[in-house]
C-alpha cells in the first residue's frame, strides 16, 4: 500500500488527536448526562403529581359488587320470586395439570355436559391462567357430590352465588316474568355502571317493569391488582386505598339491596286459575273492581321461568319459541280475541243510555237475521230460535239476533263509543309491557286500516257483527276484565295494577302505591246500571241463563256474561258442528263476571282458546277462581 508507506506514525500528534477526541467525548458525555438528568427532573419533580395519580390508578381497581335483587311477594306475603344459593363449577387453568382428563372425570361424575367437552376446554384455555371459568351450574346434590371429591380435582372449585328462583314456576311465569343474562339491547335501557357486577336483568313481566326497584345499586370494593389483572390479596393496601383521596376513585361502598315488591296478585286465585285452565290455551284476569288490583293474571300454557334464570340452552329456547301453543306469549295482555257475546252487557248499557231501545221492547228471534234487501244470513251463534225476547232475555240467553237489530238501530259510532268508554281499543296501562290495544272498529278506523279504496267503505253488516262482538272487534283479556270491573262499580274505573307497594329491605318501610282512577263511565243512570247487572245475574241464575250450570250452587251471587268467539267462518248453509272443525279453528270460549253481584269485590275475564262455548268452557274456570276467592278463610284484602 503505497499511501501507507509514505505516511509515518507521529506518536505525539496521534496522542494529541486522541486526547482531543477523549475530551470531546467527555464533553458529550456530560451534555448527554445533563439531558438525562433534566428528563428525570421533569418526570420526578415537575410531573410528579400526575405520575403518582397514574400509578395509583394502576394499583387499585374497583371491584363492583352486585346488589341482592329484591324479593317479590304476593299480596299476602307469599314469596313469588326469591334468591337462592346456587353453585357453579369453575376451573382455574393454572392449577390444572391435565385439563382433558379433569373434564373427563367431571363428565363421568355427571357434573359437566360431555357434549360441551371441546367448548369448555377451549373456553378454559382461552382465559388467563388465574381466571375462574364457569363450567356448569350444579344442583345442591351435585355440589355435594363434588364437594366430597374436591381433593381429587385441583384447580376445580365451586362458587356460590345467588340465583333467582320462582317457587311457583309456571303459575307466575307470565305475570312475574323472569330474569335472564343481560343482552346488548338490555344495556341500552340501564345505567351500565350500576350493573357493573350484575349478571341478570328482568326480561319480562314484573321483573322487567320494576327492574329499577328490584335491582338495587351496585357496591364497590377496592382491590390491589397487577397489570395482568390478577387480584392480590393485600388488606393493608386496600385499607390504604380506602383512606387515600385518589381523584376519580370512588370510596368503597356496600351494594344496596333492591327493594322488595308486593304484588296485588293473590297466589290462591292465581293457582286456582292456573289449575282451572289446565292444559288448555287461555287466560284469566281477575281484578278487584274497587281499586284495580290485579288479583290473578294467568296465561296458559306457560313455561318454567327458572330455566331462564338458570340460563336456558339455545335448543330449549328455540323449542319454546317454536312451540305452536306459544307459551312465551302472555295471552292476558298480548292475546287479542273477538269478545263475542261478552260485549253485550256494555252494548245494552249504551243502548239504554242512548235510548236506542226500551228495556222491555221485545224483538222476535227466528234464529237468523237478514239485513234489509240482503240474502246474507246472520246466524244465531248457538243456533236455535229464541222467539220473543226483550233486552233482559237477550242478555240472559245471549240472543244474537236481538243484538244484530239493536246494533243496527244504534249505529256504529254509538256502539264504538259505548265500548271505548269501558277501555276497549286502548291499552289498560297495566305496569307490565307488551300489552295490545285491541280494536274497536269505526268507519274512520277502517279507512285508515285499508289501503285500497274499495276496502275502505263501512258496511252495515260490519255494524251488525260488532253488535255481537265479532268482525273487527278485538279485545285483550285484561281489557275485558277491567271492563267487567267497571261494570261492577257502575262506572268507577281504575288502571289495573300489579304493584301494591315496595318495601325497603333494611328499614322494612313499605311505600304503598295509590290506586290510579281513570275517567268514570258517567252516562248511564243507576237504573240502567241496575238493569244490566240484573241481566248479568240472570245469566248465572235464570232458568235459561247461559252460565247457570257453571254457577249452580255458588254461595255468592255472580253477575256474568258468556261469549263464544268465532275463529272460523261457517259457510252460509252449513251448521257449525264442533267435531267437523279443526281444533285450532274452533270457537273461543269467553266469560266475564263479577261477584258478589250486590257489592262486587272481584271481577274477571276468562278466555279458553278453541274450547267452544263460553258457557261450558270458560264459565267453569271462573267458578273455580270465584270459589277460591270466597272460600279463602281469613282473607284480608291488603288495603292500601
Amino acid at each position: 500500500m503505497p499511501l501507507q508507506s509514505t505516511r509515518l506514525k507521529d506518536h505525539w500528534q496521534e496522542q494529541q488527536l486522541f486526547f482531543t477526541r477523549v475530551i470531546a467525548a467527555a464533553v458529550i458525555i456530560v451534555l448527554l448526562s445533563g439531558v438525562l438528568v433534566a428528563r428525570l427532573v421533569v418526570l420526578q419533580v415537575v410531573e410528579y403529581e400526575r405520575f403518582v395519580e397514574l400509578s395509583q390508578g394502576n394499583r387499585f381497581r374497583l371491584e363492583p359488587l352486585p346488589p341482592t335483587r329484591g324479593i317479590i311477594y304476593d299480596r299476602n306475603g307469599l314469596v313469588i320470586a326469591e334468591n337462592l344459593p346456587s353453585w357453579e363449577l369453575v376451573a382455574i387453568a393454572e392449577e390444572i395439570d391435565n385439563l382433558d382428563a379433569t373434564l373427563k372425570q367431571l363428565e363421568a361424575l355427571g357434573l359437566v355436559d360431555p357434549g360441551e367437552h371441546k367448548t369448555l376446554r377451549d373456553l378454559v384455555r382461552g382465559h388467563r391462567g388465574f381466571e375462574r371459568v364457569k363450567l356448569s351450574n350444579l344442583t345442591e346434590e351435585q355440589a355435594a357430590k363434588f364437594a366430597v371429591r374436591r381433593h381429587r380435582f385441583p384447580g376445580v372449585d365451586i362458587e356460590e352465588a345467588l340465583a333467582r328462583h320462582y317457587p311457583f314456576a309456571e303459575a307466575t311465569a307470565q305475570a312475574v316474568g323472569y330474569v335472564g343474562s343481560i343482552s346488548l339491547q338490555d344495556l341500552e335501557r340501564i345505567d351500565r355502571s350500576d350493573y357493573a357486577a350484575t349478571s341478570h336483568i328482568g326480561k319480562t313481566g314484573i321483573e322487567r317493569a320494576f327492574e329499577a326497584d328490584l335491582h338495587g345499586h351496585v357496591g364497590f370494593r377496592h382491590q390491589v391488582v397487577n397489570a395482568q389483572g390478577r387480584v392480590l390479596s393485600d388488606p393493608a393496601a386496600e385499607k390504604e386505598a380506602e383512606a387515600s383521596d385518589i381523584p376519580g376513585m370512588p370510596k368503597s361502598k356496600r351494594p344496596s339491596q333492591g327493594n322488595n315488591v308486593y304484588l296485588s296478585i293473590d297466589m290462591r286465585l292465581q293457582l286456582a286459575a292456573q289449575a282451572a285452565l289446565g292444559e288448555s290455551r287461555g287466560a284469566v284476569v281477575a281484578i278487584d273492581p274497587r281499586n284495580g288490583d290485579v288479583l290473578a293474571l294467568v296465561s296458559t300454557p306457560a313455561f318454567d321461568p327458572n330455566r331462564f334464570a338458570e340460563g336456558i340452552s339455545k335448543a330449549d329456547y328455540n323449542a319454546l319459541t317454536n312451540d305452536q301453543d306459544k307459551p312465551l306469549i302472555n295471552r292476558a295482555l298480548q292475546g287479542i280475541y273477538p269478545p263475542g257475546s261478552t260485549v253485550k252487557p256494555f252494548i245494552a248499557l249504551t243502548a239504554l243510555q242512548s235510548e236506542s231501545i226500551a228495556p222491555d221492547k221485545e224483538l222476535y228471534c227466528t234464529g237468523e237475521y237478514h239485513l234489509p234487501n240482503q240474502t246474507h244470513k246472520y246466524r244465531e251463534g248457538k243456533g236455535g230460535v229464541h222467539g220473543n225476547v226483550n233486552l233482559h232475555d237477550a242478555i240472559v240467553r245471549s240472543c244474537d239476533v236481538y243484538f244484530y237489530q239493536l246494533a243496527l238501530t244504534m249505529g256504529i259510532d254509538s256502539l264504538a263509543n259505548g265500548l271505548k268508554v269501558f277501555g276497549f281499543g286502548a291499552p289498560t296501562g297495566i305496569e307490565i309491557s307488551g300489552e295490545q290495544s285491541g280494536v274497536v272498529p269505526t268507519p274512520a278506523w277502517k279507512k285508515k286500516q285499508f289501503s285500497k279504496a274499495e276496502d275502505q267503505g263501512w258496511y252495515l253488516g260490519e255494524t251488525v257483527n260488532v253488535g255481537v262482538g265479532q268482525g273487527y272487534v278485538l279485545v285483550t283479556p285484561i281489557q275485558l276484565a277491567n271492563a267487567a270491573a267497571t261494570m261492577a262499580t257502575r262506572g268507577d274505573r281504575f288502571k289495573p295494577r300489579l304493584l301494591l307497594g315496595t318495601e325497603d329491605p333494611i328499614t322494612r318501610e313499605t311505600a304503598w302505591s295509590e290506586p290510579v282512577a281513570l275517567p268514570r263511565v258517567d252516562g248511564p243512570s243507576d237504573a240502567e246500571w241496575q238493569f244490566v247487572h240484573d241481566a248479568m245475574v240472570g245469566v248465572t241464575a235464570d232458568l235459561h241463563g247461559t252460565a247457570r250450570a257453571a254457577m249452580q250452587g255458588a254461595t255468592y251471587k255472580v253477575a256474568g256474561k258468556t261469549g263464544t268467539a268465532q275463529v272460523f267462518t261457517v259457510g252460509q248453509d252449513e251448521k257449525y258442528r264442533e267435531a267437523d272443525v279443526d281444533e285450532r279453528l274452533r270457537d273461543h270460549g269467553l266469560f266475564i263476571a263479577f261477584a258478589p253481584a250486590d257489592a262486587p269485590r272481584i271481577a274477571l275475564a276468562v278466555i279458553v282458546e278453541n274450547a267452544g262455548f263460553g258457557a261450558s268452557a270458560a264459565a267453569p274456570v271462573a267458578r273455580k277462581v270465584f270459589d277460591a276467592y270466597f272460600a279463602a278463610e281469613g282473607y284480608v284484602a291488603r288495603e292500601p
Partner: protein, 363 residues
C-alpha cells in the same frame, strides 16, 4: 506462592508493573466503582425480583463469574490481547454464522449457541471483539485513518452488526455498532449509521419514540408504565420494596431492561442521581485510562470500552425514561442477566490491564 503468580507468571510484561497486590494487577478505582454499582444493583434487583433470594443468588453467581473474568483479564498484558484479537473476531464471525444456520433450521430467532454445558451468545463476544478489531486494525497505521481505512473499519463493524441484527437482536447490534463506531471515532474517523438494516418492527419501535403514548397498550405501553414508575418515585422514592409499579407487575421486564425504573420508583431522583454519578465516575476512570494509554491499540480499546459503557447507561436510562425508543439494552452491572455481565466485567478487566501493564517511562 500465590495462585496468580503461578498461573499468570509467564504472561508478565517485561516492563514494570504497578506495585502491590502480590504481583496481581488490580485497578482499585475500577474495582471499587464496579462493586458499588453492583451493590446498588443487588439491592434494587432484590426488590425487583420480589424478594426472591434464589434468583438473586443466581445473579450473584453471574457477578462472581464476571468478577473472575475481570481479574483474569486484568492480568493479561494488552499486547496479548492484541495478538488474540483477529482470532477472537473471526471466531465470533464463525459462531454468528453457526447460529444463523442453526436458526435457519430451527425456523426462529436464534441467538444462543448450545455448547452442551453452557449456552453462549456469540453476539456478546462481538461486543468486545469488534472494538478490539478496529483498534487492532488501526494499531500500526498512522492516525487519522484514510478514507479506505475508514471503509475497512466500517466493514469490521457492520458485518457482525448486520449478522446480529439479522438474528434479530437490534439492541446488541446497536451496541456492537456503538463500540466499533466509537473506536473509529476515537481514531479520528467518521461513523456511518446503518439504520436501514433494521427490520420493520424495529423501525416501528424507533419511530414510536416520536410519540410513545400514541399506542398505550402496544409498543408504547412499556414506556408509559416505566415513566409512571419513575415519575411517581418523586424526589426520594417510595422506599425500598415499596414500588407499586414493579411489585404489581405493571412494569415489564423489571428485573432486566427496566430495572432503572424500579430504582427510580423506589429510590427517587436522588437514588438515580447517585447511580448516574457512580456510572460517570466509572466512565471517567475508563477515559482517564484511555488518555494515559501508551499505544494506539490500548488507547482506542480503552476509549471505545469506556464510551460504550456510557452508551449502555445512556441508552438504557434514556429508553426507560422515555427519551429514546425501546431497544433491549440492559442497564450495565444492575440488570439481571448472564452474558452481558460477564462481557462487561471482562471489558473492565481489559481496562485494568491496559492501565496496570503500562510501561513506566519514568520510574
Amino acid at each position: 506462592m500465590s495462585l496468580a503468580s503461578l498461573e499468570w507468571g509467564r504472561m508478565r510484561p517485561t516492563g514494570r508493573r504497578m506495585p502491590g497486590f502480590g504481583g496481581l494487577v488490580i485497578d482499585m478505582p475500577l474495582l471499587v466503582l464496579v462493586l458499588l454499582i453492583a451493590s446498588v444493583g443487588f439491592v434494587v434487583l432484590y426488590s425487583a425480583l420480589g424478594a426472591n433470594t434464589s434468583l438473586l443468588l443466581r445473579q450473584g453467581l453471574r457477578f462472581a463469574v464476571g468478577l473472575t473474568a475481570f481479574f483474569a483479564f486484568s492480568q493479561v498484558p494488552p499486547r496479548y490481547l492484541r495478538i488474540w484479537t483477529p482470532w477472537a473476531f473471526f471466531l465470533g464471525i464463525a459462531l454468528l454464522l453457526a447460529v444463523a444456520i442453526e436458526g435457519e433450521i430451527g425456523k426462529g430467532a436464534q441467538r444462543w449457541l448450545d455448547l452442551g454445558i453452557v449456552t453462549f451468545q456469540p453476539s456478546e463476544l462481538m461486543k468486545l471483539a469488534v472494538p478490539m478489531m478496529v483498534a487492532w486494525f488501526m494499531h500500526d497505521r498512522p492516525l487519522p485513518p484514510t478514507f479506505l481505512q475508514i471503509v475497512t473499519t466500517t466493514l469490521i463493524v457492520v458485518v457482525p452488526a448486520v449478522m446480529i441484527a439479522e438474528q434479530p437482536d437490534l439492541g446488541t447490534a446497536m451496541l456492537v455498532i456503538a463500540a466499533g463506531g466509537l473506536a473509529i471515532l476515537l481514531a479520528g474517523g467518521a461513523v456511518p449509521v446503518l439504520w436501514h438494516y433494521m427490520r420493520d418492527y424495529q423501525r416501528a419501535r424507533v419511530f414510536m419514540f416520536l410519540n410513545p403514548e400514541s399506542d398505550p397498550l402496544g409498543a408504547g405501553y412499556n414506556t408509559i408504565q416505566a415513566k409512571i414508575a419513575i415519575g411517581s418515585g418523586g424526589l426520594f422514592g417510595k422506599g425500598w420494596m415499596n414500588g407499586t409499579q414493579a411489585h404489581l407487575e405493571f412494569l415489564p421486564e423489571r428485573q432486566t431492561d427496566f430495572i432503572f425504573a424500579v430504582m427510580g420508583e423506589e429510590f427517587g431522583l436522588l437514588g438515580l442521581l447517585l447511580l448516574l454519578t457512580l456510572y460517570l465516575a466509572l466512565v471517567g476512570r475508563g477515559l482517564w485510562i484511555a488518555a494515559h494509554a501508551q499505544d494506539t491499540f490500548t488507547r482506542l480499546l480503552a476509549g471505545a470500552l469506556s464510551l460504550t459503557f456510557f452508551f449502555y447507561v445512556f441508552v438504557n436510562a434514556g429508553m426507560v425514561s422515555g427519551l429514546l425508543p425501546i431497544v433491549g439494552v440492559p442497564l450495565p452491572l444492575v440488570s439481571a442477566g448472564g452474558t452481558s455481565m460477564v462481557t462487561l466485567l471482562a471489558g473492565f478487566g481489559m481496562l485494568a490491564a491496559i492501565h496496570g501493564h503500562r510501561k513506566l517511562l519514568a520510574p
